[in-house]
């Protein structure tokens, strides 16, 4: 169903619940994977996704439709992820100046819900060497297949800066993979 129709149904109190169900059906997996690839742990991702959609439920009637619905949801999800990781760093007494989240590498190998082979593990380890924001850009472009315009709306960064960030990320990953071969 088109986003405009979902919003129309949501605005009507009689069809609000139905609209929210459709919205969940449409976006919950995309948002889950977006979050999961960033925080890595399934339980953390589960909690975050629930918080995100509760926020969507509470604020959708205030959504001004000056942006696409999915970029708005992605923006909420991205902000929640960054807040979550910063909080986790503080709890582990890691300086917030540390731009990457290398500390997550441990949870990768210990996780029951990571079935990746050696190559996939190495890719995730390579990604954890990137600054968080750069890792987000990489994930959105590489895994979620979003266009630069869309990523720009979500992160509030210019397309040129995103392209530069992505190119750099790809080079760093290539270097990491070849150095650890």
């Amino acid at each position: 169903m088109e986003d405009a129709l979902i919003l129309e149904k949501f605005a009507d109190s009689r069809t609000r619940d139905e609209a929210f169900g459709i919205l969940l059906e449409k976006y919950q997996q995309k948002i889950y994977w977006h979050v999961r690839r960033f925080v890595l742990d399934h339980d953390d991702a589960n909690d975050l996704v629930q918080d995100i959609f509760i926020k969507v439920w509470k604020n959708l009637d205030k959504f001004r439709a000056d942006a696409q619905l999915y970029t708005w949801i992605y923006r909420i999800a991205t902000n929640e992820c960054i807040t979550f990781l910063n909080r986790k760093k503080q709890n582990l007494s890691i300086s917030l100046d540390d731009e990457n989240s290398g500390f997550l590498a441990e949870s990768l190998t210990e996780s029951a819900y990571f079935n990746g082979d050696q190559a996939q593990l190495k890719l995730q380890q390579a990604l954890l060497t990137l600054p968080d924001k750069q890792r987000l850009v990489f994930n959105m472009k590489y895994f979620d297949d979003l266009k630069y315009d869309e990523i720009s709306s979500i992160l509030g960064t210019s397309v040129g800066a995103l392209k530069a960030s992505y190119h750099l990320a790809v080079k760093k990953i290539e270097r990491f993979l070849s150095d650890t071969d």
């Binding site: 919950q28 994977w33 399934h42 509760i54 819900y113 290539e174």
Partner: protein
Amino acid sequence: MKNLDENENRKNEDGLTPNLQANPFSIPKDYFQTLKKEILFNTQLTKLSESTFSTSSDYQAQLTNDILAKVSEEKLKSSVPEDGFAVPDGYFEKLQNEIFKQTVNQPRIVPLKKTKTSWIFYTAAACLALAVSLFAFFSLNTSTNNTVANEHMNIDILPTEEIINYLAFYSETGDLITLSDQLSENSVNFTDSFSSDEIEAYLENSI
């Protein structure tokens, strides 16, 4: 025959026999109308291809970077096609139910009666607020005056020694200014009562 030959051989002013002047070539029907249209069309095409498209000065460099990044991305995807993450069985159905529990299925507070608020209500509320604030203002003023009077009375009771000790300990300019306002005219020339050592000691302690 001889006359025909003679006619053919008679040359014109250009030195050509008349039958050689005739144009031996033929053209398709309406050729020149078609030719005109084709020439005009081709000139318009040429104008269009020369003029409208432009790119930024660093476009070619940017394009190269984009293509190289795309090539690296494709190489990476071919060697690592998936991320390796998994979810528990039936997770997404459970997730949806969990989210519904905390949103759609939450009990909603519905007002029993929609009350129409009239302008009378707002006027009454404004009058009440005004009355309360006026009462508070006047009662506060009265209590302030009483408080000041009480303070003056309390200060009169205090021994001088105590006042001096207080000033020595809490040396704030505000106190001094207030005190100097309260001093009688006769006490203005008090410098003779204090030695230079006393004044110096005071200044050292208070600054």
